[in-house]
């Protein structure tokens, strides 16, 4: 199967702070991968750098279905097929979700778009939020659902879901996990970012990547999740000398 997302040697800094120190991740079409790591390890920064947020100084390569997106504007990356579900989606007061959906449709010119909006709104029970302002007054779980909804209508080739499970109760985590499994398709590669392993109980990721201090220190199969559940994060990578102990935050499992 061809590769949905190919990240090679991505580095990023914010001012003097070096955050990403050369990240390599490959997500083939049809697969669901998980990127794990403690708070502050650089997971959200990776999302933003891939999406093109201009506050980071970055280098390296990111191919979305073979197209280099590093250097493109944010919206061009989106239209190249990259979607980021934000860890902290910002409220856009005065702009309704419907306003945003209309604009998303206009820039896509996809005849199937309108139908996809209705279908996803049905599945995700989003109709009642459509006239409300984007993320305005939504609970944590509702914001995540709204992000999933926008992802479904955007129909990306690569979806990066940043902490899609955080702040949710266990039922909601299960629901999100099932939605991701439902979205799994041969036209999509998914990268789920989390610092909890609990979402992994409800889904079958193809691969797990562990990020510490701006580097992917381990990549493996679902068995990594089991190791994490059993012994926590420190034991898993404790033998890596390069990791300064004080910055390690154990997973909350």
């Amino acid at each position: 199967m061809s590769v949905a997302l190919q990240v090679s040697g991505v580095r990023a800094r914010y001012g003097d702070l070096e955050i990403l120190k050369g990240v390599d991740i490959e997500v083939p079409f049809g697969e669901v991968h998980v990127l794990m790591g403690p708070n502050g390890s650089g997971k959200s920064t990776l999302c933003h750098v891939l999406m093109g947020k201009d506050e980071y100084e970055s280098s390296g390569s990111a191919l979305v279905d073979g197209t280099e997106v590093m250097g493109l504007a944010v919206d061009e990356r989106a239209r190249a097929g990259l979607f980021e579900a934000f860890q902290y989606p910002v409220e856009v007061a005065g702009v309704s979700l419907n306003d945003l959906l209309r604009e998303m449709g206009e820039v896509r010119q996809d005849p199937a778009y309108a139908e996809r909006v209705e279908a996803a709104a049905d599945t995700l029970d989003m109709h009642r939020f459509r006239e409300r302002s984007v993320n305005g007054g939504l609970s944590g779980g509702e914001k995540k659902r709204s992000e999933m909804f926008q992802m479904a209508v955007a129909s990306p080739k690569v979806a990066i879901l940043d902490e899609i499970d955080s702040g949710l109760d266990i039922d909601a985590v299960r629901e999100v996990a099932h939605l991701v499994e439902e979205l799994r398709s041969d036209d999509l590669g998914v990268l789920i970012i989390t610092h909890y392993s609990r979402i992994l109980r409800y889904m079958n990721p193809d691969k797990i990547h562990v990020m510490v201090n701006g580097e992917v220190v381990r990549t493996g199969g679902p068995e990594i999740a089991a190791e994490l559940e059993a012994s926590g994060y420190v034991d898993l990578v404790g033998n890596e000398a390069s990791i300064p102990k004080p910055e390690i935050t154990p997973f909350d499992v």
């Binding site: 999406m51 944010v74 919206d75 856009v92 007061a93 820039v107």
Partner: protein, 428 residues
Amino acid sequence: MKTLDVQASAAAGAVDPDWLAARRKVALDYYDKLDMPSDREEVWRYVDFDFVLGDFGLVDEPGEAHEIDNGIAAALPDIAGSMLLVDGHAVSVNTGDTDAVFGSLRTLLADNPAILEPHVAKGTPADMNKFAAAHTAFGSDGAVLVVPPGTAIERPFFVDIQAATDGAVSFPLITLATGESSQASVVIRYRSDDELNALVVPNLELAVGDNSQLKVTVVQHWGVGTTSVSHLRAVVGRDGSVHIGEAGLGGALSRLQLQIDLEGNGSNANVVGAYFGDESQTLDYRYTMHHQGLNTDSDMFLKGAVQGESLSIFTGMIRIDEEAQKTNAYQTNRNLILSDGAAAQSVPNLEILANDVRCGHGSTMGPLDEEQRYYLMSRGLDGPRSDRLLVHGFFNEALAKFPEPAIADVVTSWIDAKYRAAQEAGTV
């Protein structure tokens, strides 16, 4: 054209009953005594006049009315009555078929002066400033609505106020009075050609009766050469409610000095504004909310944007008297600065003498929010498209609170178009 002098005042008052003649005489004295306002006075700060009132003259015959409708009349397919005032003279009146008295000031002074006496020329004190004095001294016509007690009129009245003669000054008076437990809505539109150099001094006086509801929507769409210095005074009776929306789009200098007196217990006021300055415009808002009765509520909510070299000013005062316990009062003023050369002033003030009140204010200014822009762009919207949506959303928060939604929709589309044109011209 007539100069602003004692003969002009006498001519303007040709049909005055005694009570109005007396008010006019006092005003003329003030007009003679008062100087042009100076930006050294706090209430005129940031405003610099490059003319004196006497540079403009009064017309005997109104100029040609504007033919082009800017969408406002079309947005009001079903109205209770309408009037067109050009250069301060009523040129056409449709009194409608409601139980209310609606007509031109001049006609009603002849036909029904008794109904006018309690209200007309009472709102804005003539000694407030030279413009206010001139208004009462030289004004001769306007629109009057008096709604009898217990009468609810759902359809809005429409008052179209135009300036059409170069070098002319006009003083339209809009007097609106709602009787006990009545209800009415009035839409006022200001309009002139961009090429016109004119001065307009409109005064709005609102007497909101006990337990009545009055909605007033003002669409200020003066041409870029027109200067407007207007006053609005509302007095609200027990359990009365006034809802005012003002859209400020045009004018070289457009000023609105507004004061609402929440006199009656349980009265409330909701004042919304949306303004968008461009080129070298000055948009100047001086608002006072005066809580006098017990248990009164007020909300002032204004959102403005400036681009080009324009300047906007908002000073808001919430004054809560010692007797006005259980007041809820809020004022919010948010400003978008869209070009480097543009500026906004925002000064919220509170003067609270009662102790059992809830009161708050917020004031912000700055460019479009980068996080919001990034979020929208991450959904595939290009930068200019994202910015347009953000500007739209910014104003939508205010326009959604306007009294007449159909008017708010028209204003929204003007604002969207104005911002888009600025994007295309590369000025934002």
